[in-house]
């Protein structure tokens, strides 16, 4: 029972408390320029979850082996980038072989998936958790990022129907909207503004 509770705690903290978009602004530029539909956001989240979840497994083992070396801080980032590239390529080949890809993903979308996966993997390793919590952290963070992007996308659709000053249309009002959402979630978690 304790194990289930601790795993749920990891999932909730990665998805809500340390939400990638609202707490760390990761994915903010992508959601402003590239998200076109809810289906795209869900595919983005799934891609990030699979890539980061698979990548963190060998990296966790490498961290346990070389974590105390002085050069590991540098090697970890490069190893993460290369592993993400390998996993992403394998995933693309597997999906193409299964006939799931109708057209190749745009390079800028691939870059966003890489960036999100790299952030999730590095945050998971920095937290120095056990193996299973590290993998669950990756899935939780990806789900939280996708949920946050859906919230922002829904808000943007409504903002486009509003009459706004021309200077605020698009990027400015979206940034203000994300900021207010971030503040609301910050308070909902239980934090207080510094005094």
């Amino acid at each position: 029972m304790n194990l289930i509770v601790s795993m749920l705690a990891v999932l909730v903290s990665s998805a809500v408390i340390e939400n990638l978009l609202f707490a760390r602004a990761i994915g903010a530029d992508h959601i402003l320029r590239q998200t076109r539909s809810y289906r795209f956001i869900i595919e983005f989240g799934l891609g990030a979850a699979v890539i980061s979840g698979v990548t963190v497994m060998p990296l966790w083992w490498l961290s346990q082996t070389f974590g105390r070396e002085s050069w590991w801080n540098y090697a970890r980032s490069m190893a993460a980038v290369l592993l993400i590239a390998v996993v992403s390529l394998l995933l693309t080949i597997a999906m193409a072989a299964a006939g799931r890809i109708q057209r190749p993903m745009r390079l800028v979308d691939q870059g966003a998936v890489y960036s999100a996966s790299l952030a999730i993997v590095l945050l998971s390793l920095t937290a120095k958790m056990a193996f299973l919590p590290s993998v669950l952290y990756c899935f939780g963070a990806s789900a939280g990022l996708a949920a946050a992007m859906i919230l922002v996308h829904a808000g943007r659709e409504r903002l486009e129907l509003c009459v706004l000053p021309r200077s605020f249309e698009g990027l400015p009002i979206t940034m203000i909207y994300i900021g207010i959402l971030s503040l609301a979630i910050y308070g909902l978690i239980g934090h207080q503004l510094p005094t």
Binding site: Y74, L107, Q110, F168, I176, I178, G179, P194
Partner: protein, 188 residues
């Protein structure tokens, strides 16, 4: 976007983040203009990602003496390798000539530096009551400026301000050109 919203809590952090972004963007942009066509599209993102990461880690090694500052920047240092400017100049719209790539990359990074410097100075001065680590007396203290949400809101208002100024300048240029065209037509 995340690099200007969250880690810019002090002027030093903002300038260091700009340096990391420049280290990630400029070499990749120049390399893309030189050898971009020889790399298959399937491998272009991993290739430029590895090059950018290598440049960022090299700079990190050079500034390893700033341990506290690097700890403040945290995960954004390796993430700088996949910033939007690098993706734009190396993958989406690589330039044909190395000189154009270098010029565009430097100008983009300079633009980021200006915004990051302004935001980080503002947040440090009004949020922490210091500038470049030197304690100063600010007229007001808004301690919430050190939280992520304030970065989003500041960027939103800053962007709206720049758009307004841009529209005023373009409006004046258009009116001046119409006046010139009308005077030229009257003369004929």
């Amino acid at each position: 976007m995340p690099f200007v919203i969250v880690p810019t809590l002090s002027l030093r952090a903002g300038l260091l983040m700009s340096a990391f972004l420049a280290a990630a963007t400029i070499p990749s942009a120049v390399l893309a203009s030189l050898v971009g066509r020889k790399i298959p599209p399937l491998f272009s993102l991993p290739f430029y990602g590895a090059v950018s990461t290598g440049c960022v880690l090299l700079l990190r090694f050079c500034v390893s003496g700033q341990a506290l500052l690097l700890e403040d920047l945290g995960v954004y240092v390796p993430l700088a390798a996949f910033n939007g400017m690098m993706l734009e100049l190396a993958l989406v719209h690589p330039r044909r000539r190395a000189s154009d790539a270098l010029h565009d990359a430097v100008m983009m990074c300079f633009g980021f530096l200006l915004v990051a410097a302004f935001l980080s100075a503002l947040r440090e001065f009004l949020g922490s009551g210091s500038l470049w680590g030197v304690p100063l007396t600010a007229p007001i203290r808004i301690r919430g400026l050190v939280l992520p949400f304030s970065g989003f809101i500041l960027i939103g208002f800053l962007s709206a301000l720049f758009r307004r100024v841009d529209s005023i300048i373009i409006g004046r240029m258009l009116r001046a050109s119409r006046r010139t065209a009308k005077q030229g037509g009257d003369a004929v």
